[in-house]
């Protein structure tokens, strides 16, 4: 390669770059601001859905607020992780509230008197 003509060297460099480009693209897929904001928006939607049936959990709103702070600080992976947890809380709270809408006296209380 040392004796290779200059033109051939350019060709090789271009080939190497071409080979590395897909890899480079994969490295650049770290979460960005838009992804973080989308995650937060999804979490907020889940929180509101849980709240609409009285099933919101205590910490969900605070988690979303913290995720916003992290996103503002540029800590997008952390923001997304927290937003995902908040979203899951919203989903679980919604399901919980729907599942409990017919809650009633437990049998161990009512049956004793019969």
């Amino acid at each position: 390669m040392i004796t290779t003509k200059r033109g051939d060297g350019y060709g090789l460099a271009a080939g190497v770059l071409a080979a590395l480009l897909p890899l480079g693209a994969a490295w650049s897929e770290t979460p960005d601001r838009a992804q973080a904001l989308a995650g937060i928006e999804a979490a907020e939607a889940a929180r509101q859905r849980a709240d609409s049936v009285g099933g919101e959990w205590r910490d969900t709103a605070a988690m979303i607020a913290r995720a916003r702070e992290l996103a503002e600080a540029g800590r997008y992976p952390d923001a997304i992780e927290l937003a995902d947890q908040a979203k899951r809380q919203g989903e679980l709270g919604y399901d919980q509230a729907l599942g409990e809408q017919n809650a009633d006296f437990p049998a161990y209380v009512l049956d004793r008197s019969r």
Binding site: G54, G55, W57, R58, E100, Q101, F105, P106, V109, R112
Partner: protein
Amino acid sequence: MTKHGFLLATLVLAGAALPIGPVTAATPEEEQAAFQAYFKQRFPNVPEDEFKNGTYAIDPVTRENWEAIEEFPPYENAISQGETLWNTPFADGQGYADCFPDGPAIMGRYPHWDRERGLVMTLPLALNACRTAHGETPLKYKKGPIADLLAYIAFESRGQITQVEIPEDDPRALAAYEQGKRFYFARRGQLNFACGHCHLATSGARLRTETLSPAYGHTTHWPVYRSDWGEMGTLHRRFAGCNEQVRAKAFEPQGEEYRNLEYFLTYMNNGLELNGPGARK
């Protein structure tokens, strides 16, 4: 596992082991009888008229401390301040006595079903309705002046008997009772606990240094000076605190959820003497 983690795991397992689910339909009267019978069977050595004292009816050690506290009650200032508020005229020259001519000993009339408004009327709601009718700003519902007013009214009402009615000719009242009941037995929050999990089958059990109080007696002694708060607070403040303890978002004090809950829970306590204001840990 940390101590805290172990405690949480224990609670969750305990909750899972105590299913609260629907059983065959019963009338409010049947449910009240079953509720009261349950606690009498669970604590056979506690005289019925002692349940109004909450945990102190079932735990002799904490009762000793409580009796010592009651020698110089921490709620006395609230009673005095409440009396002053009661007797201070509004800007229009009227006062609480004009809204409640039989007052101040009116605690035993609340909560009740308000047919005209179509809702459960609690005493704090009625007090604020009086204020707004006379051009005054409503008081906040968790603590402060409302708790002082309630302390004075409760003190003057001592000895009255809990006697909540569910009028049979207004199905909305029964619906409010049912909603309050569902709230009481619904699991909620990240810990997946219902009110009933702590205050029925595990009442009397230890939660760290605390003894879980029986639900029978929960509504007799409000407002309360809680050492944990370092001040007076209302029943709905406590509801909110309990919800947050199971990591659920609390509801608004005097909102429909808590008023219906109060209606159900007070109905369960029918027959017990009112002995507020109280002191609790």
